[in-house]
């Protein structure tokens, strides 16, 4: 699992990646210094739950992924059946390339879990 995260982290501009379950518990992580895995995992799980609840107010919708763009970086997360893959990037990172790597990694992660 660490190898999968290392490959994502090799993309220029990526500051770290984490795999969490849908309750926010960390499964695996590979973060640069300055980033706290517990904070990130808890907040992403909260955002994911909030989105799912909001979408379910009308009809059920499956959430594939979310991208948050802020002044000093971005958080991208992809949702699989049992887990969420989170990547934190610097501003100006090629998000398209990161997304491709993440999709490939999610498939490999599902095989492992």
């Amino acid at each position: 699992m660490k190898d999968i995260l290392n490959q994502i982290n090799d993309v220029p501009g990526v500051r770290g990646s984490i795999v969490i379950d849908k309750e926010g518990l960390v499964v695996a992580s590979n973060l640069m210094s300055g980033l706290e895995e517990k904070t990130i995992s808890a907040l992403v799980a909260t955002i994911y739950a909030e989105i799912v609840k909001s979408l379910a107010a009308g009809r059920e919708q499956e959430v594939y992924g979310v991208q948050l763009y802020a002044n000093e970086g971005s958080i991208i997360f992809l949702c699989a059946s049992y887990c969420i893959l989170i990547v934190i990037t610097e501003p100006g990172t090629n998000i398209g390339l990161v997304s491709i790597k993440m999709k490939a990694s999610t498939e490999r992660l599902m095989e492992l879990l």
Partner: protein, 301 residues
Amino acid sequence: MLTNIPADNVKNFADQVVNDPASLLFASLADFYRENGLCQEAINMCQVGLDAHPDNIEGRVVLTQCYKDIKDYEKARIEIMKILSIQSENPQAKKILEEVDKLNSTNTRSGPSSQKELISSQTSFDSIQAVVAENSSEDGTVNQASVTEAFSSKGTEAFGARSIAESAAKESEDLTVSAYSHILSEIIKTPQVYGSLLVDEVGYPIASAFSIQAGKVDEEASGALSALVYSTAAKATEKIKLGELQRVIIDTKAEKLFLSRVGSQILIISAENSAKVGLVAVSFKKALDKIRGLGLSKRSM
């Protein structure tokens, strides 16, 4: 996220309210009746509910909207005053008051000829807040009877100046809402984009544009939920020390949602799941720039 309210929820509400007319669910069911044209039934339900729960703001807001819908603006204003005496900053009450004033002003004659018109002519937010503050005790309790009397006595001297100022403000605001609607209509011309919604920071709709493909959309629910998601995400990015949130893209099975803050408002775009993210992002950015430009030109007026 731009979706309908399921019929099962309505049936559950109805069952509970029929069994207990003083149930706290009366406001939701009454609002549903009102939206479906059954204003008198909604009014009756609100009156029973408010007898049991006189401080229920939601129920009183629904009652106000019912009176507005049946064009009984005097009763609508009385209910708004009751809400504002409890919550002087209630945004829903302020919005309805503005709508009632606008509707009432189309029937206004050249001068005040009745006590009703004196009160209606003076209704600006600043004046309401000032009067409420003057008639509140130190612990914040508001004397409702003296608030109503204060409006009557102040009406005569304030009528002339306030009428002109309020007319100009309303005209400016109408133009702005029309400009927002035009910008949102331009967005939905982007291929595979079928809805755009501009809401204020608490989620109340300001303007919207939807294509036929979007179907029936509950703007208030969509706006409120989108604002909630955006504010949660904004707090998260600050806690993770990534700075201020600029944009959110949510990819779901049914659609892609784009959310961004522009000033104190939030712009939401809904597109098909297969939409080209980059193309939608370009339209999104153009719209944000135009909305910012509107805000700047309004401030310079």
